[in-house]
């Protein structure tokens, strides 16, 4: 390993460590999972431990798009637009089984998984997911952020 790659890998690690503890989320809340998201995001489960305590309500200030709840075909272009408005680097969490696969809404109205529209980094299944699985998903996202090649 040359000196140059040594420094870039160490710099990658440092930036990854910083980024994984500054997860500013944009909660895209459309349905009943929102209640579980609110419970999981409040003080009892304390997502501030993971640096994810402050949701931003503008996609331009957010790093992670939390898609919480059923996405209908009518809503799909809005979700895509919100995703496009976020600045790099950005990640997407599919919260709940509806966003993962469409859930039991296999019908004319519902998108069968948001990964048909936008890329997804972490899937948190459940109807709704327990706060424990939300925290687990958050930690998996942290690992992913810390270990990826950082672009800046």
């Amino acid at each position: 390993m040359g000196v140059g790659s040594f420094f870039t890998s160490k710099l990658d690690e440092a930036i990854g460590w910083a980024r994984k503890y500054s997860i500013f989320q944009y909660p895209f809340v459309t349905a009943c999972c929102g209640m579980e998201y609110m419970a999981a995001a409040c003080s009892h489960y304390d997502v501030d431990r993971f640096g994810a305590g402050l949701p931003r309500f503008s996609p331009r200030q957010a790093d992670v798009l939390f898609v919480v709840g059923t996405i209908s075909h009518k809503m799909a272009p809005v979700l895509k637009r919100i995703y496009d408005q976020m600045t790099e680097p950005k990640w997407v969490v599919a919260f709940g089984v509806c966003t993962c696969t469409g859930g039991f809404y296999d019908n004319y109205a519902t998108v069968q998984g948001i990964d048909t529209i936008i890329p997804v980094d972490v899937y948190i299944p459940g109807c709704p997911p327990r706060p424990e699985s939300v925290l687990d998903g958050l930690m998996k996202l942290q690992d992913k952020i810390a270990l990826q090649t950082q672009r800046f």
Partner: protein, 165 residues
């Protein structure tokens, strides 16, 4: 007034225009001829003994391939009325054929009928004559067909973006 009394009032007033009536466990229903529908709704609202001043719901049902009703009119538009003064409920129905799925609007009687009729148009394709704003309510403009019709294919998807299957 009890349900049979309500139905009797309607029959006395409209005679043969009341196609059918039934009552089951407090659900009082009258099937009205389409030509008399608006008059019957206005009668239910304004007649002091009925005073059904609230339209609690307006919906429809598709009887395509329904056992025993294969030959009858395909759609039924259903009006659920409630009287705030007398605390009674009354249901009016009107039957329409598929190739003549038009019902006179109830918006002048109850403003809430505006969105409810738009929903029925959106989901069942029953048109409301005289509606001030006859657009879809729930689905997007590009959507083709009417999703709650029994012959709408259960697996047909019409996404605005993304794959079609």
């Amino acid at each position: 007034m009890r349900g049979d009394g309500l139905l009797q009032r309607l029959r006395d007033r409209f005679g043969a225009a009341i196609v059918d009536t039934h009552e089951f466990r407090g659900d009082t229903t009258a099937v009205v001829d389409r030509a008399a529908l608006v008059d019957a709704l206005r009668f239910c609202r304004d007649e002091p003994a009925l005073a059904c001043d609230m339209l609690t719901d307006l919906t429809a049902a598709d009887y395509l391939k329904f056992p025993g009703r294969e030959d009858g009119p395909r759609f039924e538009v259903v009006y659920h009325l409630y009287s705030l003064a007398h605390h009674h409920r009354l249901r009016l129905k009107v039957r329409v054929d598929e190739d003549d799925a038009v019902v006179p609007t109830a918006v002048p009687l109850w403003p809430i009928a505006n969105w409810l009729e738009r929903e029925v148009w959106d989901m069942f394709g029953v048109r409301f004559e005289g509606h001030p704003d006859p657009r879809r309510l729930l689905m997007y403009e590009q959507f083709v067909g009417h999703a709650l019709r029994k012959d709408y294919p259960i697996n047909r998807r019409q996404p605005l973006i993304g794959p079609t299957t």
